[in-house]
Structures are given as C-alpha cells and as structure tokens.
C-alpha cells in the first residue's frame, strides 16, 4: 500500500502543479507578512486563503489527478490488489502532497511570524480542510466516469460549501429571527467543514466580539474542551465519511 502511495507521490511531484501551488502559497504568505504592518491583518488575509483557496485547489487538483491517472488505476486493478487498497493509496498520495504543500507554503511562514493560538488554529483548519475536500473530491470523481462532469460537480461543491451554504444560513437566520436560533446555528455549522474551521479560528481572533450577547454561547461551546473535541470529531467525520462512501462506490463500480 505504501509502495503504491509512493508511486502516486512521485507521479504528482513530476506534474509540477503541486510545486506551483506550494510556491503560490509561500509567496502569498510571506508577502502578506512582509507587507502588512500588523500581524493580525496578515492572518486575516491568510484566513481567506485557507477558507477559499485551499478547498478549491484540493477539490480541483484531486479530481484532475483522478481522471489523469485513470489508466494507471486500471492497470493496478489487473494486479492482485484490492480496490479499497488502491483507492486509499491514491488518497494517501494526493492528501500527503497537498498537506506538505500547505505546510511548506503557509505553515512555515505562520510558524516564523506568528507562532500563537491563532496561527496554530489556522494551520489545523488548513490541514483539516485539505483532507476533507480531498475526500469529497474523490467521492465526486468516482461517481462519474466523465471528466468534465466530475470537475464540474467538484466546482459546484466548492461553490456550495464556500458561498451558497452561508447564504442559506443567513436566509434561515432572518426567516426565523423570532425564534431562539443559537443552538440551531451550532448544529448548522457542523454541516459545513468551512464554517466549522472558520468559527474555530474566529474564536481565537475575534474573542472580543464573540463575548457579546449571543456570541458568548459560541465561545462557551467551541472554546471549551468539549467544543474542541466536537470540532475535531466533526472534521474527522468530514474526512472519513466521504472517503468511505467513495471506497464503497469504487468497489462496486464497473470500470
């Protein structure tokens, strides 16, 4: 299994897309830290990178990689290897390369410039989102044979998670503003890994605002030990469940 993951890794490195991604993240992070006079503003801009760019690249890169290595996967299937092992090795290779790009591109600058709770929360969120969206992308790509359709559905998923979902939440909150919605929004946030990661970072960054009125509830919940375990647990579910579904589909699939 590790052997297969290693081949996948070599293959990815040869394509140079990951290297470009690493360089892009690194340039942006260093640039932000150098340009902004106060670190909190740089972290704020990095937050947008982590919440928008990281899921997008993870989704697109994974789908394209899957379709490009379709022949390789077919070749492997002719070998005495289980389908689960093949897909998991693919996943391992892709996730590992994306995480290492993220750690080199964003991790190093953050650790050098702002090694504090906010920085660590940012890194945790970045890694979790990379893993989660890689598995979502695998699910999207095993579902459809057509490359264009696969990439299209991946893009749509990104659009949904990063924009449409929050719009829906806003709509719900305004439609039901006469009711106590605080607890319900906690539940809603669990349904979107980007929201979950954002709230996790916000707790470190906007602690003042979050202590006001309804915010205190989020702070009490997410700030507590149970809340951190909840966040990590839900993130883990977002990584594991799409991946398991993808494996299930892949095993039964007529290739």
């Amino acid at each position: 299994m590790f052997k297969l993951t290693r081949y996948v890794l070599y293959d990815i490195l040869r394509s140079k897309v990951v290297i470009a991604y690493t360089l892009f993240l690194f340039a942006v992070s260093i640039g932000l830290f150098q340009l902004e006079e106060n670190q909190s503003k740089a972290i704020l801009s990095l937050l947008n990178i982590v919440l928008i760019v990281v899921p997008l690249i993870s989704l697109i890169f994974t789908t394209i990689h899957y379709y490009n290595s379709y022949e390789f996967i077919e070749l492997m299937l002719s070998q005495p290897l289980s389908r689960t092992r093949i897909l998991l090795s693919e996943y391992g290779g892709v996730a590992l390369s994306l995480i290492s790009s993220f750690m080199i591109g964003v991790g190093f600058p953050v650790l050098i410039y702002t090694f504090d709770a906010t920085g660590l929360a940012l890194l945790f969120t970045g890694i979790a989102l990379t893993l989660a969206f890689t598995s979502i992308a695998f699910l999207a790509s095993v579902k459809s044979r057509d490359k264009a359709r696969g990439i299209g559905s991946a893009l749509l998923l990104w659009f949904y998670f990063s924009l449409i979902y929050d719009g829906l939440v806003l709509l719900i909150l305004f439609s039901f503003s006469d009711y106590p919605m605080e607890k319900f929004t906690l539940f809603l946030s669990a349904l979107n890994p980007i929201d979950l990661g954002r709230i996790f970072i916000m707790l470190k960054m906007d602690v003042g605002a979050l202590m006001g009125y309804t915010g205190a509830l989020y702070k009490d919940f997410f700030g507590s030990g149970a809340g951190i375990i909840f966040t990590a647990g839900i993130m883990l579910l977002w990584v594991v469940i799409p991946l398991l579904l993808a494996v299930r589909v892949f095993r039964k699939k007529d290739l």
Binding site: I201, G208, L210, M211
Partner: protein, 410 residues
C-alpha cells in the same frame, strides 16, 4: 486646584506637633478605644504591630492614627471597623480585615461621614463588604490603598471606594479588586481620580452618576464584569486611561449614558467586547484614543448628537462602528482606520476617498445578533463589498471625510 489646596492644608495639619500616644500589647495603653478616648485634637496615635479586635471604633476628633508595621484591625465579620467624622483626621498604614456584612446597612471597613480634610493613605483592606465608604465630605484624599474583596455575587459584595455627595476629593494610586464596583461615585463634584487600578470587580471598574466636573487620569480598568459605566454627568475629563479585556454579553470599555460636554482623550481601549457604547450623550470630544482588537470599537446609538470623534486610531477591531439607526448627528474626522482602502493622490497624508466605518455586516448583526456566526465568511465580505459599491442600508452620513493614511502619532 481645590484638591491641590486640600493637599497643602493636610500637609500643614500633619506636621502640627501634638502629643504622641503609642498603643502596643505590653504598653500601658493597649487598646485603640482607650487611646482614642485619651487623645486630644492634634495628637498622633501610633498603633504598633498586632491584631486588634475592638468592634466599631468612632473617631470624631482631629487625630492622626498611624500604623507601625501594618497592625491589623479585625472586624470579626460583624462590625464596621472604623468610623470617622469631623475635620483633619489621617489614617495611615493600617490593615483592615474582615469587616462585617449586612443587607440592611452599608457596612464598610472604613466609613467617613460629614468630614473635611481627611487623609487615608497606605492602608490595606481585605475581605470587606464596602472598602472605604465616604459620605457628605469634602477636601479629602484617599491614596495608595490596596483594597481586595472576596469576589462574590453583586449583592454580597459592596463597592471598593464608595463616594456619596462629596466634592474636591482626590482618589489616587489605589488598587481595587474583587468588589462590586471598584470606584463608585454619586453626586461627587470637582474631584480627581488618578492612577488607580481597578480590576476583576464583579460589576463595574468605575461607576459614576450625577458627578459633574470630575477628572479621571491614568487609571486602568481591566477584566471587570461589565467594564466602566458612567451616567447622567456633565463636564467630565477622561485622559490616559486604559480599558482592557472587559468581556461579556453587556460589558463595555466605557458605557456613556446621558453624558455631556465632556472630553475623552488619549485613552487606550484594548480587547473589550465594546470599546465605547454611547447613548443619549451630547457634545463629547473623543480624540486621540487607541481602539485595538475590540469586538466593536464604538457603538454610537442614534440618540447621541453633536459628538466629535477625531484623530483616533482603530486597529484590528472586529467592527469599527455600529449604530442602531440611520440618523447621524455626530462628526468623524481625521481618524486612522486600518480597514480603509482608499488612496492619497496629493500626498497630504489624508485619504481622498471618504471612509464609511459602519459595514453592511455590522448593520445586519445589529438587527439579528445570531448572524455573528457568519463573521469573516465569504458571503459577508461579498455583502460588504456590494454595499460599498452601491450603499443602501448603511447610514450614509456616518462618514469620515478625512481618513488618515497612516496612524495618528499619539
């Protein structure tokens, strides 16, 4: 000027020579009560090291009570310890411990009623209901005292320094923690409150009402349950104070309610839920302050008019300004906003594009606080950008026409 005169008067009084009575365990005079009844006006009473439990003691003549090596006056959890009334009395270097609690009376470790020219200096007060309670007094000084409360609930603890109907007072360099309100003033005029530290109190760090012509300099108010609340006063000056980490659902750096003709200058507001909350306030100059990492730097309700916000620096606040209406009768000028995105063509240091400090999202959150959960999300930044391009919901008149490109030098 008048508090200064008070200091001079006290200095004169202190060095008028009188007899000295020494109280100690193995001396002819071994209780404070005995010494007080023996003493005549102008005498000095030296209280030597030890613990004295003598119930409530009343001083009504001009004497100087001085503690040697921090003697302890213990109230045994049931008494008011020392009650002063009269003129020219000074109390120094004494540790007041365990004053009584009553839900009927405002028991204090040290109560001063109907007095003039009192000096309270270098004392320590622990475990009291009220710390120092002053009523109907003038020209007095409370300086360098340490008052540590027990941090119970609001109704189980009293105020650290409580002044009622006083004038020309000086409250300086005291450290107060764990009481209901750190410093509480009601009907106190022409007084100076400076260099005090008020922290971890259950309710407010500083609380005043109907107290005109007072000056607050260089105090720090940190981690208080609800920050600082000031109400119904005129001609107040607040300078060089620090308001730090006042966090909570209704916690404010300062809450200004019906304050007018006042100045708030050179203060620092750091990490408060709300830096300044204003309601029904008029003609206040708020200038050269630093607002950093607050939830809301300013919440200016529509009931405020004719206030000027100038040359302040705003950094890293979640929201710069929020308001509850579209009517704006206040002015913003020459502030530095870290969220400003304009340019400066003629290089005079002032941005050419006006800055609207109320964001669309601040308006949304004001209407529906639950939406706070969407802070920093993509949709919120889209909304803000859209509103900036085509303003519709945010108050159009709330604008800084001359925003600074670089932070003001303060």
């Amino acid at each position: 000027m008048r508090p200064l005169l008070a200091i001079l008067c006290l200095l004169n009084v202190t060095y008028v020579s009188g007899n000295t009575i020494i109280i100690g365990k193995n001396r002819p005079v071994n209780t404070l009560r005995q010494a007080i009844s023996m003493a005549k006006a102008g005498d000095t009473v030296l209280l030597q090291r030890g613990t004295y439990k003598e119930g409530n003691i009343i001083i009504d003549k001009s004497i100087h009570l001085i503690g040697v090596d921090e003697p302890i006056l213990d109230g045994d959890h049931k008494n008011e310890i020392l009650t002063l009334t009269g003129t020219n009395i000074s109390i120094r270097g004494i540790h007041f411990a365990n004053a009584g609690y009553s839900s009927m009376n405002d028991f204090a470790a040290l109560k001063i009623i109907d007095a003039t020219n009192i000096l309270i200096e270098n004392n320590t007060i622990t475990n009291a209901f009220f710390g120092i309670h002053i009523a109907n007094s003038t020209n007095s000084i409370v300086r360098n005292n340490t008052i540590i409360g027990t941090n119970k609930t609001e109704h189980l603890s009293g105020n650290g320094i409580h002044l009622w109907k006083c004038s020309d007072m000086l409250i300086a360099s005291n450290k107060i923690s764990g009481h209901r309100d750190g410093i509480y003033l009601e009907f106190v005029s022409k007084s100076i409150i400076e260099n005090n530290k008020s922290l971890k109190n259950v309710r407010y760090g500083l609380h005043f009402m109907f107290s005109h012509d007072d000056t607050y300099l260089g105090n720090s108010f940190e981690n208080n349950g609800a920050g600082v609340a000031v109400m119904y006063s005129k001609h107040v000056r607040m300078e060089n104070n620090l308001f730090d980490k006042n966090w909570g659902a209704s916690a404010y750096g300062i809450l200004l309610k019906d304050i007018s003709d006042s100045h708030i200058l050179h203060n620092r507001f750091i990490q408060n839920t709300v830096g300044i909350y204003m309601e029904g306030s008029s003609r206040i100059g708020i200038g050269k302050n630093i607002f950093q990492a607050n939830g809301w730097a300013l919440k200016v309700q529509a009931s405020c008019d004719d206030n000027t916000f100038y040359q302040n620096n705003f950094y890293g606040n979640s929201f710069d300004v929020a308001t509850n209406g579209t009517m704006v009768l206040n002015r913003f000028n020459n502030n530095y906003w870290d969220k400003y995105e304009g340019y400066d063509m003629n290089r005079d240091g002032i941005g050419d594009v006006p800055y609207h400090p109320v964001s669309m999202y601040a308006v949304v959150v004001e209407q529906n606080p639950t939406t706070l959960v969407l802070m920093r999300s993509f949709i919120v930044s889209l909304l803000d950008k859209a509103e900036k391009a085509i303003p519709g919901l945010t108050p159009e008149n709330l604008v800084d026409n001359n925003p600074m490109i670089k932070p003001n030098k303060l």
